[in-house]
């Protein structure tokens, strides 16, 4: 045994060389233990990092074809990592000075042991022997484990886990492609529809915000949100159809309102007013009364310049209807070939209000035969035509249109068309009543107020002349128009 006196006893104090040898022996023992710790730490780390490529290879073995079999690859990688860790630990320098400073710090020996290390190399001073003896004694009494601390192989559990996972991956190969099925074409198309709706909705919202149109803005935002939800697959196609239906009604109403303000004589909602009667006062008698279903070009045929915002709104409506059609086809193609007809509005007897067309995409290719037959002499050509491409609905109005126009101030929105009476008897067919007391918001229209009021005044007078109207109501209507200074 290094540095031990005879019989393993502690060397005598007078024997300087024995003291140094004893101290060296104790330091060497501590150093060996430190190197062993280092070896274990680095080997564990090397094994862990070596196992990782093997784990990856074993995991992918079921999915792709590897150039080398996974098992030898994993084994070789783990062995290489282990060897690299071990070699680096063996080549690393275990600093004796640092080790003994650590010993002093752990034992609280006020640098006796680290001072002894320096004295061990120097010729003796007054205190050298005593310090070497003290230091050797301290190291002899203290287990290296106390100085070096508990062996912490932090990566050992991870290495074990990696080994287990590698083995599992080798035993039970998994094809990852099966775990991540690709999107179907149908889903891609749905996402594309949603994206289109979102873009259109945002564009519309910008316009509405610029023109300070509250209702339009709300509808546009709903449209954009619907597009987003559809694109993100947050809603089912069925829910999307429901929401589209509501939106379509709202947008149709909005379109008509604004169209009337921009072009008082126009009333057709794009693609919806198949064969709808025109507005009174239009100068192309007969042309619009025939109601060419699926070919309407509302607004454009009138020769009047089209308002860009109105066009956007019409485009949005087109888009929405196309989406409805597409979605109905995609979402329910397994069940039925077509989008089921959705109750977009209430339909009442066509006698309710003469000349009211049915806006929206429900006007089928057949249009609304018979509705546009009345009052052909008033020339409602432009209003009776459909916007291009909007002929997807099923014809709903097979009944003759009402004979007379209703009071315009009473019905503005909804599915009312211009004030032309269509042929047919009251009580037949569908119609919708919507009461608009005033315009809901400022639309930016520059239409002179007198033009509308005169028209309304005439209608009011004609209506008042009817026998059915109670006298007291006649008086009230008359007073109203008198109060606003139009009716003479």
């Amino acid at each position: 045994m290094h540095g031990r006196g005879q019989n393993g006893a502690r060397p005598g104090r007078a024997n300087m060389s024995d003291l140094r040898a004893e101290f060296k022996f104790r330091v060497a023992r501590l150093r060996r233990r430190a190197r062993l710790d280092l070896l274990l730490r680095r080997s564990t780390a090397g094994l862990f990092f070596g196992l990782l490529p093997g784990l990856v290879a074993a995991s992918l073995a079921g999915t792709i074809t590897l150039p080398v079999p996974a098992l030898p690859l994993a084994a070789a990688s783990a062995a290489a990592g282990l060897a690299a860790g071990a070699v680096s630990a063996l080549l690393a320098r275990v600093d004796r000075r640092r080790l003994l400073i650590q010993a002093d710090a752990v034992l609280g020996t006020r640098e006796v042991i680290s001072t002894a290390l320096e004295l061990e190399r120097k010729p003796g001073g007054v205190f050298t022997d005593a310090i070497l003896e003290d230091a050797a004694g301290l190291l002899a009494r203290t287990a290296p484990r106390i100085i070096l601390g508990r062996r912490r192989l932090v990566l050992a559990p991870f290495a074990l886990l990696a080994a287990v996972l590698t083995a599992a991956a080798l035993l039970f190969p998994v094809d990852f492609r099966a775990l991540f099925p690709q999107r179907t074409d149908q889903e891609k198309e749905l996402a594309q529809i949603g994206e289109n709706l979102r873009q259109k909705g945002e564009k519309l919202a910008e316009d509405a915000r610029a023109q300070d149109l509250g209702r339009s803005l709300e509808l546009s935002q709903q449209l954009a949100q619907l597009g987003r939800d559809l694109a993100d697959r947050k809603i089912t196609p069925e829910d999307a159809l429901d929401r589209m239906s509501d939106l379509e009604s709202g947008l149709s109403r909005e379109y008509r309102l604004r169209e009337q303000l921009v072009q008082p004589n126009a009333s057709g909602v794009p693609g919806t007013s198949s064969g709808e009667p025109g507005q009174p006062g239009d100068s192309s008698p007969g042309s619009g009364d025939q109601g060419q279903p699926g070919s309407a070009e509302a607004g454009k045929d009138s020769g009047q310049p089209e308002d860009p915002a109105l066009k956007d709104l019409g485009d949005a409506l087109d888009q929405l209807r196309r989406a409805q059609r597409d979605l109905g086809g995609k979402g329910e193609e397994s069940d039925q070939a077509q989008v089921p007809e959705r109750p977009r509005r209430q339909r009442g007897p066509s006698t309710a209000e003469p000349g009211q067309g049915l806006p929206g995409g429900d006007s089928g290719p057949s249009g609304r035969p018979g509705q546009d037959q009345g009052r052909s002499g008033q020339g409602q050509g432009k209003d009776s035509e459909e916007r291009p491409g909007e002929s997807g609905g099923s014809g709903v109005g097979s009944l003759p249109a009402p004979q007379k126009r209703g009071p315009a101030s009473d019905i503005i929105g909804g599915n009312r068309g211009p004030g032309l009476a269509a042929q047919g008897s009251a009580g037949e067919g569908d119609s919708t009543r919507l009461l608009a007391r005033a315009l809901p918001e400022w639309t930016g229209s520059k239409l002179p107020e007198e033009a509308i009021l005169n028209s309304y005044s005439q209608q009011a007078e004609s209506e008042l002349a009817r026998d059915e109207v109670p006298l007291k109501l006649r008086q009230a209507v008359k007073e109203y128009f008198t109060s606003i200074g139009i009716t003479k």
Partner: protein, 337 residues
């Protein structure tokens, strides 16, 4: 004597000295310890404190217990160097032939000043002019006095313990930094506590206390001084002392934020030198055979506080050297990675 016995003897001597001085001085144990460190390291200590804290009593007690010659010089603005180191005087020489025919001859003789003592208390050193101060400081450093071309060697051990009053700075000549750096320690004496004042009153208003006994002679002091320098100190402990000294200098890698902001000049090489020597003395007085980090830390305040010079901002902010030293101690790791 074996090393352990020598260390034990040294520890015992210092303990006895402290106990004996403690009979005369109430409190100030740390100051007494530090004065003894200075004494056995061969350094000089600058004592700073308001009047009445027992500075003079401390020095006198030290002289008694060490069996050394102690003197006291009260520094005043009109004090001249000759008043400290001594001067040549004409002395008549008496001839053998007495009577009418006898001739009276005179010769010059050197009259030693109060600096010729082992322990010199230079009271209120900052009241004397720089010329007088430097005469004393030369004697401190060189341990010789030269008058009229003749050098006179002072008898070792020489320990000069000047005092300064931190208040009443009007009409004073503060010691220049170069001279401050020559002091081993700067010790600050604080006010005694209520219980200490009570003890002081008991001791000074009753019967006069018994005279202090001599604890160690000049030979013992010499041996102890030699033993202090034999105490080993590991290289990394020495490095720590050096890094502490460097950390007080702005612009070095080791400096702290406080130092770089408020300090103009830090410790000179005498700083780490003092730290190492004082650490050895601390270890020996504690009966240990080697000096460690704690011994260095224990000496840091006394060894460095008068070696730190503040810039204008530091003066304006009222930063104290103790704050800087504590900051340096806190931020300087004992073992450098």
């Amino acid at each position: 004597m074996e090393a352990r016995e020598q260390a034990a003897w040294a520890g015992g001597v210092v303990r006895a000295l402290r106990e004996e001085i403690g009979r005369a001085i109430v409190g100030h144990e740390e100051v007494v310890h530090d004065v003894l460190v200075c004494l056995f390291c061969g350094g000089h200590a600058l004592l700073e404190g308001v009047p009445g804290l027992g500075k003079t009593t401390l020095i006198k007690s030290l002289g008694q217990v060490l069996d050394l010659v102690a003197s006291r010089i009260q520094f005043t603005p009109d004090l001249m160097p000759a008043d400290i180191i001594g001067t040549n005087v004409l002395v008549p020489e008496e001839t053998q032939q007495a009577g009418a025919g006898a001739e009276s001859r005179r010769y010059v003789r050197f009259q030693k000043g109060p600096v010729f003592a082992n322990i010199v208390l230079a009271d209120e050193i900052n009241r004397a002019t720089p010329k007088t101060q430097s005469a004393l400081l030369e004697a401190m450093q060189e341990q010789t006095v030269t008058v009229g071309g003749t050098s006179w060697r002072l008898d070792p051990p020489i320990n000069v313990l000047p005092t300064q009053n931190p208040i009443e700075m009007e009409g004073t000549y503060p010691l220049p930094e170069a001279q401050l750096d020559r002091f081993f320690f700067k010790l600050a004496l604080g006010y005694p506590s209520a219980s200490e004042i009570s003890s002081i009153i008991d001791r000074t208003t009753g019967e006069p206390p018994a005279p202090l006994r001599k604890v160690v002679d000049a030979e013992g002091i010499r041996r102890l001084k030699a033993l202090v320098r034999e105490v080993p100190l590991a290289g990394h402990v020495r490095d720590y002392a050096i890094r502490l000294g460097l950390a007080t200098r702005p612009g070095t890698e080791a400096d702290t934020d406080l130092v770089s902001r408020y300090v103009r000049y830090g410790a000179s090489p005498r700083g780490p030198q003092t730290l190492v020597l004082a650490a050895k003395a601390n270890a020996l007085f504690d009966g240990r055979l080697n000096a460690g980090f704690d011994d260095v830390k224990a000496a840091a305040r006394q060894a460095l506080r008068h070696r730190i010079l503040f810039n204008f901002e530091g003066e304006a902010e009222g930063i104290t050297p103790e704050q800087v030293i504590d900051d340096v101690l806190e931020r300087t790791p004992a073992v450098q990675e």
